[in-house]
Structure formats: C-alpha cells, structure tokens
C-alpha cells in the first residue's frame, strides 16, 4: 500500500538528512558554525514537540518553555547537586517533562481557544519566577576533568552535533510513528472537528493527554541537551517567552502539522538569526528578534500554514487530474419492506431538553426496530438535530430515558455511544481535507478494530459499501459534495455501527447525486443496518423510508407511513401553514 511505501521513504529521508547533517558538521572548522549546526537540530526537536501537541490538535500552546526549562534544570541540578550524569539526567528530565504534561494538561484541556493559549502562557512564566526565587539565577554546569565523557562533555564539538542529530532523528521517528498511526489520525481529527471526532468514537481527552505527555518529554529532552551544550542555564533563557515563541515560530514557518515543518523552519531561521546576531549583534542588538518577528508576519500573511504546505499544495494543484465522478448504476427500488418484526434496537421514552426556557425536545417517545429505516421530518427548528445530539451524547437530556440494545444511553459521552454502535453523520460535512479519503475513513475505523490491520480492512470495506474504494487515495479537500457525503457515511460505517444517525445526507446534492446516495443507503439497509435519517427532500424520503416521525416545536406531531403522515392535517399545517390546511380540508 502507498502508506507503507511512503513511510519507508520517510525513514530513509530521516536517515539521509541525519547523515548529511553530520557530514556537514565535519566539513566545518569554525566552532561558532559548529554550535549553530548543533542548535538547529535542538530547535527542530523543540518544534517537533510543539507540533505534536499544537500542530496536530490545533490547541495553540504558548508555554512549551515550561517543558524545555524543566528538562534543562533537571539536567543541570542533577549534575550540580547530585553529580548525576546528563546521560541519566536527560531521561530523568523527560520524565519530569512528561509529569509536567500531566499536571498542566489535565486542568488546562478543559479550556478552549484563547483561554487555552493564555493559560499555557502563564505556566512557564510562573516557573521562571519560582526558579529565580529558588536561587537558580544562573547555574553553570561544572567542567568534569575526570571521565568527561561519562558527564557528556567532549573535547570535540562534533560529538554534540552528533547527539543533537541523534535526538532529532529520534524525535522525527516518533513523529512519523504518530503521524502514521491511529494516534496521529485521532489528533488530526480533534483539530478538524472535536465533536465529530468524539462522535467517531475517539476519546478526545485521552488522546490530548497522551499528546501533551509525549510533547512534554520531547521538549524536556531538547532542553536538557541545550543545557549540556551551552553549559549555563538561566531562568530567562529556558523559561522565557522567546523559548516558547521559538518552538512555535520554527514550526509555523516550516509547516504546521507535518514532521518536516519544524526541520525546515529551524534549518532556515536558526542560522539566519544566528548569523545576523553574530555579524550585526554589536551594532543592532535585537536583530535576531526582529528577523524572527518579521518571519512570522510574512509567513502568516503569505502562507498561513507554513512553507511545506504552501509548496505541497502548489505541486498538488499542478498534478491534480480532472476527476470525472463515476456514477453508481443502481436501479432505485421502492421503499424497503418494513421490518416490523425486528427486535427493538433503540427505545426512547419521554425525552426532553430545554435551552433557556425554550423546549427544544419535548416528551418525545419512539422505538426503532432492528433493520428499519426511520425517517424524521419536520420544519426548521423543530428539534430534529437536537434529538440526534441527545441520542449520541453531545447533549444531556433534562428528562426521559434512552436505551440502545439493552444499554442505558443516559449520560454517555459521544465516544462511548459510538463504541456501543451508534454511528452518526452531520448536516454540514466535516472532512479532514489534508488527509486522503482512505485516512478520513480510517479515523472512524479504530473504534471497533482490534489491530491497525483490522482497522484498515474495516475502512476498506466501508469504502466498498459506499462505492468509493477506487478513489481511496484522493485527498479529501478535492472531493465533490457527493463524494464527501459518501465519505462521511463510510467513516461512520467503518466503526461497524448497528445504528446510524444520518442528519440531512442529501443537503446540497444535485439530482443525480441524490439518486446515488439513496441507492447506497438502500443497499446498506438491505444489508441489515438500522438507519434513522433526518431529511427535507420529501420526494427522496418517500422512496427511502417506510415509516416517518414528524417533529414540530420539539414535540412528536405524528408517526406512520408516508401516506398517513402526509395526509395528516396537522402535518400539512406544520409544513405548508394553517391556511393551506384549511383550504384543503
């Protein structure tokens, strides 16, 4: 498969870059340039660490200096106070960084957007003052004349470059492993749409915690090595704002959410700023910061996601073939036979939900039987989507009961509901535009999969069922609305649900595409899947669902066959207005 091939290529590229960087090191004699060659990988590692948390999940951290600084101080204090070698100090620092990740992540992940960014900013600055107060104003690492190698001290500076490159290679491999696995897919899914990710069965908090722990450990390793290389640590240099900013800047500049971004960013920005600092630092003392700042401004204005994506998007656009959508040639049948004899799968009793005094869902009761297609219709604002949100756990009902296959659904988080077998699609399709169709579907497959291979086969099977398997490698961003809707359906199917909640699957589709969608839904129902569907295109619904519920103002207005429902005066009134109903009566 292409994924395996590209992963091998990526590993080869990592090996090549590492070796090339080392070779470059041997060509250089100036100790200053050598230091720079060492700092580039360190900052690239810092960028990778930031990227694992913020790049993939989209939660912007302005406080990665916390982890960097804790790593640096752990190494320093361990050596100065307890004579512990950095060979042990750095792993120790990584543990401290990981623990800090837990302590910081747990409370802070309750916050979103601006609040998360601001809270993250406060941690390193508080630590900065604490470490100054503890008397670690400026701590130098002592020179060890005996057994310097044991204390990670080398005559030859190439050794430091080697260590930094080794750390970078390790961080790149970790990032690669994340990017290619369930872990990375889950993080990207969280970034793109946290509710959709939850609905696809992803325990978002657990993945975010894993990300910050790993990110904290990596940043701490970078900080530890930084202390070893520079031999002196001050609170400002490791906990300062510029440290946090630098992690973010190299990544933003190079490319967010890809492992190459931080490497590209660090390889360009660190040398440029260091050279400027060296050449002009005496005359223009702040030139480094000015260049960094200007780099951010230019990047955010011209290539908001970084150089890597800018270049890749441009190449991709050039190579993009014109896609002719293959149309499914499936004859449309009449509405499927009603499986009235099926066992009750979903039982909803007197479900109620209010928002600030408005009854969005009022005492709604109904049963969905195994293998049934149930249509839910009703005017705008009738509470249909709210009902779905209650069923899959986005909202907590005020009252009533919901049972699914014998399990109580009350109070379950969406990812738990998904695990029980409730899949869901959304009114507004949320795709992960930078991922391939296959990967988009794979996100939904892990929920019910024991192994990655199992997940891949579930995803493949789901794509087959919606008849998109021939296009699995296409990037989702280039798909038509029809294909996006089918892809979203496949994502829900990949989790092997027993019941699927479809919220307006036909919205925005042209007539031909509607037929394709209906054919797919009918074939799914024929395969035994239970489907509850909200839809407004009545002509389509008449062909699809043998039984309807009608909601109006949050309450159940009518239930029955399409004929019964559409000749019901109350329904006509709700849809076409009272006067129309009166005229027809």
């Amino acid at each position: 498969m292409t994924h395996v091939r590209s992963a091998t290529a990526a590993v080869a590229l990592i090996a090549f870059i590492s070796l090339a960087w080392l070779a470059l090191g041997f060509l250089v004699t100036s100790s200053y340039v050598q230091l720079m060659l060492t700092l580039v990988p360190i900052w690239a590692v810092m960028g990778l660490s930031w990227n694992i948390l913020s790049g993939y999940t989209g939660l912007v951290s302005f406080g990665h200096a916390s982890f960097f600084g804790l790593g640096a101080y752990t190494v320093t204090i361990a050596l100065v106070r307890y004579d512990v070698t950095p060979w042990l100090g750095i792993p120790l620092g990584m543990i401290v960084g990981a623990v800090a990740g837990i302590l910081i992540g747990y409370p802070t992940f309750r916050l979103r957007g601006h609040y998360f960014a601001l809270a993250m900013l406060a941690y390193p600055l508080a630590l900065l003052y604490v470490f100054s107060w503890l008397g670690y104003q400026e701590v130098a690492l002592p020179m060890k004349r005996e057994a310097p190698h044991w204390y990670m001290q080398f005559e030859n500076f190439h050794a430091y470059t080697g260590l930094a490159v080794a750390l970078l290679a390790a961080a790149l491999l970790v990032s690669l492993a994340i990017e290619r696995s369930r872990f990375g897919l889950s993080l990207v899914a969280i970034k793109q749409n946290e509710p959709a990710a939850e609905a696809a069965g992803i325990d978002t908090l657990a993945w975010k915690m894993k990300a910050i722990v790993l990110s904290g450990a990596i940043a701490a390793a970078a900080g530890g090595l930084y202390a070893v290389v520079l031999l002196v640590v001050t609170p400002e240099s490791v906990f300062g704002m510029l440290t946090s900013a630098q992690a973010l800047i190299v990544t933003l500049f190079g490319g967010v959410g890809t492992l190459w971004g931080p490497v590209i960013g660090a390889a360009i920005l660190v040398p440029v700023s260091e050279v400027l600092q060296a050449r002009l630092g005496d005359v223009l003392p702040g030139i480094q910061g000015v260049v960094f700042g200007a780099a951010i401004i230019v990047v955010i204005l011209l290539a908001p996601e970084g150089i890597f994506w800018r270049v890749r998007d441009r190449l991709a656009r050039r190579a993009e073939p014109t896609i002719v959508a293959p149309r499914a040639e499936v004859p449309l049948g009449q509405a499927a036979v009603m499986h009235a004899d099926g066992a009750a799968l979903l039982e909803v009793d007197r479900l109620a939900k209010s928002f600030g005094g408005v009854r969005a869902v009022a005492d709604v009761s109904f049963t969905v039987r195994e293998g049934e297609i149930l249509g839910i219709i009703g005017p705008n604002g009738a509470g249909k989507t709210t009902l779905f949100n209650l069923l899959n756990g986005f909202l907590r009902p005020d009252d009533g009961t919901m049972r699914f296959g014998g399990h109580d659904l009350m109070g379950l988080k969406p990812n738990r509901a998904c695990r029980l077998g409730i899949g869901r699609t959304f009114q507004v399709v949320r795709s992960f535009p930078r991922l391939s169709l296959f990967e988009n579907v794979l996100v939904g497959a892990y929920v019910a999969a024991a192994t990655p291979a199992d997940a891949a086969s579930a995803a493949q099977h789901a794509l087959d069922r919606v008849r998109l398997s021939s296009r699995a490698d296409e990037i989702a961003g280039a798909l038509s609305m029809r294909d996006l809707r089918l892809m979203e359906l496949a994502r829900a199917l990949a989790g092997r649900p027993r019941l699927i909640l479809m919220d307006e699957p036909l919205a925005g589709l042209a007539a031909g595409a509607i037929d394709d969608m209906l054919a797919v839904i009918q074939s799914l129902a024929a395969g035994g899947l239970t489907i509850v569907i909200i839809e407004h295109t009545m002509s389509a619904m008449m062909r699809l669902a043998p039984r309807f519920l009608v909601l109006d103002h949050g309450a159940l207005l009518a239930a029955g066959t399409p004929q019964e429902v559409t000749s019901n005066p109350a329904v006509i009134e709700a849809y076409l207005g009272k006067k129309w109903a009166a005229r027809r009566a």
Binding site: V60, G113, G286, I296, I300, P304
Partner: protein
C-alpha cells in the same frame, strides 16, 4: 505588643494603598487590551510593546526633544504620556489597515475562527519586531522619565497612632488619578456615544452589523487603535515612577492578560476591576510571600481564575469562539 499590631496594620495599609494605586494604572492598561479583545476577539500579544512604546514616546517628547519644557518638570511628563495616546492610535490604526486587516474581519465572519489564530500569531510577530526594534533604536540601558514627584510623598497620619503614617508617592497618586479619569472617559465613550455604540454593535454581532451597513473592519481598526493608545498612555504614566527598557512589555503584558481574563474578556468595566485586582494581589502578596514571588503570585491567581472561572470574576459567559 500593641506596637507590633500597630506596625502590622501600618504595613498592611501601606500595601493596600500601594495596591489601589498600582491597580488603577493596571486597570487602565487592561481597559486598552480589553477593548481590543472585546471588539476583535483577538488576544493582542503586542499590547505590552504598545505600552513600552508609550514609555519611550513620553521619554523622548519630554527629555529627548524637550517639547513640553514650557510646562515645567511636573506637568511635562504627564502631557507627554497623554500625547502618547494619539501617537500610538495612529500607529496601530495603520498597522491594522495595512497588514492585519488581511487576517481579520469579513474573512473571519465565516465563523470558523481560523482567522483568529492567524491574528494571534501575527501579533506575536509584531511584538517581537517592536521590542527588538526598540532595542536597536533605544538601547538596553534602563531609562526613566524623571519627575520631581517621584521622590516626594504625601504623608497621611494614621489616627490611631501619632508615630505611624501612610506614605503615598506623589507620582503614583497622580498617575492613578489620571488613569481613573481616562478609563472613565473611555467608558463613557463606549457606552454613551454613537462611536461606542457602533463598536459595541460590531463586537456583539458582526454579521448583523454588516447588514446595518457598519464597516466591521473599520470598527476593528478603530478599536485596535484606541486600545493601543489607551495602553500607551498607561505606559507613559508608569514611566514616571518605574524604570524601563525595551523588554519591559513582557512584565506588563501578562498582567494585562490576567486582568482582562479576570474581568470577563470583553467588558470595559470588568477589565478595569480585573487590573485593580491584579494590582492588589501583587502588592498584598508581599505581606505573605517573598518579594521575588510577587509576579509568580499573579500567575497562580490568574491560572486559578482561568481554570475555575473562565468567564471571569466580573464577567458573564459570553465568549463566542
């Protein structure tokens, strides 16, 4: 025995007074940032550097160029500080007009919120350019705007004891009073004038505002300019009793964030009280924790507020993210 209690009370009162005086100025800074956040929903990282530029502006108009020598040594610095407002207004207005606009307003109206991260990071870039540019231009030597008031104090005798008294630094008192006046003026502008009403409408519901014919981009620009100007004035006032260098912004930017978050992000009055709270926490914390941890105390209080009550101490839960 009683003298120990008396001394404790004296120290406490002294800290309280210092807290209120500092709090007024912090309040003014926060009001500037709060206006920008309230209207644009953007955290401005460069706010601390607008403050710093306000300080240098005051320094150069007073001692460098000597424009206000005719006002004498007492009034001159204050005139300089107030003039920093319009100066920074123009600068920030142009910054928004020429660059920031591309990341804001109608483009962000779609509601995805991506535009906001762009702006956040943009302001980080601006902050780095400004403070390091200032380092190049002004050098790293700490400066001060000298006013004879800084070394004078009002002595307020305490009634219970003839030997003890409250000392109020005159420069701090004048700065606090000016801060109060300017913050009150801004409050009136926002709540009582047509301009303020337009800004509030653009902040409240940008889409509806567009339907009314309000140019939301322009409203953002004005808020950005006014917010920068207000904070610059606060900077000029701080400069009369606090030495500064180009990196001074960091010291204060966190104070401003903390104040604005405590104030409920977006309310002018809330931002002022938030700033006041920070001033009080900072000064009163010296009674119980070592002086070096004064600022750490702010962050701890800030984190507690953000984590436990993100809608702010004085605010309602109204953030639309």
């Amino acid at each position: 025995m009683s003298s120990t209690i008396g001394a404790t009370i004296e120290i406490s009162l002294q800290a309280l007074a210092a807290g209120v005086l500092t709090g007024c100025i912090y309040g003014l800074m926060c009001v500037g940032l709060g206006l920008i956040f309230g209207v644009m929903r953007v955290i401005n990282f460069a706010q601390g550097d607008f403050l710093m530029l306000g300080m240098y502006f005051t320094l150069y108009t007073v001692t460098g160029l000597g424009i206000f020598t005719f006002l004498g040594p007492v009034a001159g610095p204050y005139a300089g500080a107030i003039l920093a407002g319009p100066a920074l207004f123009v600068g920030a207005y142009l910054l928004h007009r020429l660059l920031m606009r591309r990341l804001t307003g109608t483009r962000a109206l779609g509601g995805e919120g991506d535009g906001h991260y762009g702006q956040l990071i943009f302001t980080l870039g601006v902050a780095l350019v400004l403070e390091n540019g200032a380092l190049i231009l002004f050098g790293s030597t700490p400066e001060a705007v000298r006013t004879p008031l800084a070394s004078r104090a009002w002595e307020i005798p305490l009634l219970y004891d003839e030997t003890s008294a409250l000392f109020l630094n005159k420069a701090s008192v004048v700065a606090a009073i000016l801060s109060l006046v300017i913050a009150a003026a801004l409050y009136l502008v926002v709540n009582r004038t047509w301009l303020g009403q337009t800004l509030r409408a653009a902040a409240d519901n940008p889409i509806a505002a567009t339907y009314m014919g309000i140019d939301v981009d322009r409203a953002h620009r004005l808020a950005f300019g006014i917010g920068a100007g207000i904070t610059a004035i606060a900077g000029g006032l701080v400069a009369t009793y606090h030495p500064f260098q180009p990196y001074v912004g960091f010291e204060f930017v966190i104070i401003m964030y903390a104040g604005v978050v405590m104030g409920g992000m977006g309310s002018i009055l809330g931002a002022f009280w938030g700033g006041m709270t920070i001033g009080l926490v900072q000064q009163l914390s010296t009674l119980v924790v070592p002086l070096q941890l004064q600022n750490a105390a702010i962050f701890v209080v800030f984190l507690l507020v953000v984590l436990l009550r993100p809608q702010g101490l004085f605010g309602r839960a109204t953030e639309r993210v």
